[in-house]
């Protein structure tokens, strides 16, 4: 059973990367001189990969994400998708924002529908209706589709945002600390749901998080960033656990603690140097 899923993790050397972050530097000018947020970052993400980025607050993780999503333009270097330079935001790189970013005047259904309708205006109404319902049901909101965001809990709102993102079948899904505002139990539930959906959709994911355990459960590779200013990639860990992953099972694996300690060491040593 494990063997059929094990080759989901692609071998980077063979395939052409979906996303190439090529020597990207981002500078925010300020009155006290230029603030170099990230410096000379290079990273390749292959189709089907789940990449997590971890680092201290303010180290430029989100800035790096924004250069991929197209909300930030690199001052040096460039980001390419399938070899073509990224110039702005687009649904092929759908983002799940930290703050959910749902329209409070639209129901859960309407929020998802708006995105799908906007990206695929030519699809038939019945098709769109089906896709929206399918994705909301998939995230466990089959009964709450007609509710508006203010009537939903934080976890449910994030589920709507996730349904909205996945229903577009983006080439790469960008998640910016998607579970940061959730309580521990909801967080674990959501991680499992996302892991399942990613497997079903064969999705490529780039995710920023603070949580090492979350990375170890979800990611194929864990990118650890050094502290800013001028943050860059410090180390990349391969997470070798086969999929589908069982939280308890991987935690019994001795490599789990090895990886976990290395990640924590990296984060803490970064603190001491500063």
């Amino acid at each position: 059973m494990v063997a059929t899923q094990a080759n989901r993790s692609p071998s980077p050397s063979k395939s052409v990367p979906l996303i190439e972050i090529d020597n990207v530097t981002k500078i925010y000018p300020s009155t006290a001189g230029d603030n170099v947020v990230i410096k000379d970052i290079s990273l390749e993400i292959h189709a089907g990969e789940f990449v997590c980025v971890i680092g201290h607050s303010g180290c430029g993780k989100s800035t790096m994400l924004n250069t991929v999503s197209g909300f930030a333009t690199p001052d040096k270097g460039e980001v390419r998708k399938n070899g073509k330079k990224v110039t702005g935001p687009g649904p092929d790189r759908m983002t799940v924002f930290q703050s959910y970013s749902l329209m409070p005047w639209l129901s859960a259904y309407q929020n998802v529908y708006l995105a799908l309708d906007s990206v695929h205006p030519t699809k038939s109404k019945a098709d769109k209706d089906h896709i929206v319902r399918e994705h909301l049901t998939m995230v466990g909101l089959g009964e709450a589709m007609e509710k508006k965001p203010p009537q939903l809990s934080g976890g449910m709102r994030q589920r709507v945002a996730i349904a909205r993102a996945f229903c577009l079948y983006p080439e790469i899904l960008i998640l910016d600390e998607p579970f940061g505002a959730l309580d521990a139990i909801t967080k674990e539930e959501m991680q499992e749901e996302v892991a399942n959906i990613v497997a079903n959709h064969d999705a490529t994911v780039l995710m920023v998080t603070h949580d090492v355990d979350e990375c170890l459960f979800l990611a194929d590779r864990l990118v650890m960033m050094t502290n800013g200013p001028g943050a860059t990639i410090g180390e990349i860990l391969e997470i070798p656990f086969p999929r589908p992953r069982d939280r308890n099972q991987i935690m019994e694996d001795p490599r789990y603690y090895e990886l976990r300690n290395r990640a924590l060491d990296f984060l803490y040593s970064g603190l001491e140097i500063d």
Partner: protein
């Protein structure tokens, strides 16, 4: 049923009388005291202003109270027709102000250049009081009726316009970012994101404007002779020293103003239900 809900206060026909009393009693007592002091002051001769009882003791005023629908032609009409005439002017000009204000506000809110060009002019114009517009509009439009309409329009349009522009400018980045990622069409952006997001601001403007335009119509009509309307009615009554009629007209003005505000509040709650 052995258990019954413990009820606080006396219930009569399902109505909690105690609660009703505690809600209604304080304002009622305050009004009664206010009227009593007023009555006492005018009885004692300290002021020449007639007391509230004059509404009923004065024969002309009593007629006006009991026959609000009379129409003797010309401008000699009952209070209902006077009020209605003023309200009609407000309705016309306010609607126009809402259309122009919301339209221009959205244009300004979405176009930084337009905003830069027009903001100073608008900020200046909106500080001009309604009464100051009266001579200008009379000079410009030459006739009482259009001049009155213009005064209301020019009073009501600024709060609507400025609030709409602010509402459009203040659309949270969150919503705009989503709009950018899903590359929403201009039309969808307008109806699904811009308008609903700015709606609370637009309604704030609309509510301020309805009170202002009601104030403005009274002010405008007072100086515009020979038209049916509650403003001019007050002026004429004052000229003829029918002070109790002025008091009656004030009651009408206050009630209508209150109703207009309540109506906008109700409309706002209805349209923005569930947000």
């Amino acid at each position: 049923m052995s258990t019954s809900l413990p009820s606080k206060g006396t219930m009569i026909g399902g109505v909690n009388v105690t609660k009703l009393m505690s809600d209604i009693a304080p304002p009622t007592i305050a009004i009664v005291i206010f009227l009593a002091v007023w009555e006492a002051l005018s009885q004692s001769g300290i002021t020449l202003l007639p007391g509230p009882s004059s509404l009923f003791t004065n024969e002309r005023t009593r007629t006006l109270i009991f026959y609000p629908f009379y129409d003797r032609g010309g401008i000699d009409k009952g209070m209902f027709w006077q009020t209605l005439a003023s309200l009609q002017r407000v309705a016309i000009s306010y609607t126009l102000a809402a259309i122009v204000g919301i339209g221009t506000g959205i244009a300004i809110g979405t176009t930084p250049l337009l905003s830069k060009a027009l903001d100073p002019l608008f900020l200046f114009l909106r500080t001009v009081p309604p009464l100051a517009w009266v001579p200008i509009s009379l000079a410009a439009l030459n006739k009482n009726e259009p001049a009155a309409l213009f005064v209301i329009f020019v009073t009501a349009v600024w709060p609507i316009l400025i609030n709409t522009a602010v509402g459009v400018r203040e659309i949270p980045d969150d919503y705009n970012n989503v709009a950018k990622v899903i590359q929403v069409s201009k039309q969808k952006y307008f109806f699904k994101i811009l308008l609903p997001s700015a709606l609370p601001y637009i309604f704030t403007g609309l509510r301020v404007a309805i009170s202002l335009s009601w104030l403005a119509i009274i002010a405008a009509e007072i100086v515009m002779s020979g038209i049916v309307g509650i403003g001019f009615f007050i002026w004429e009554a004052y000229q003829n020293n029918y002070i109790s009629e002025v008091i009656l007209a004030l009651l009408y003005i206050g009630m209508v103003g209150l109703l207009l505000d309540k109506f906008m509040e109700w409309l706002q709650a209805r349209i923005m239900k569930g947000q």
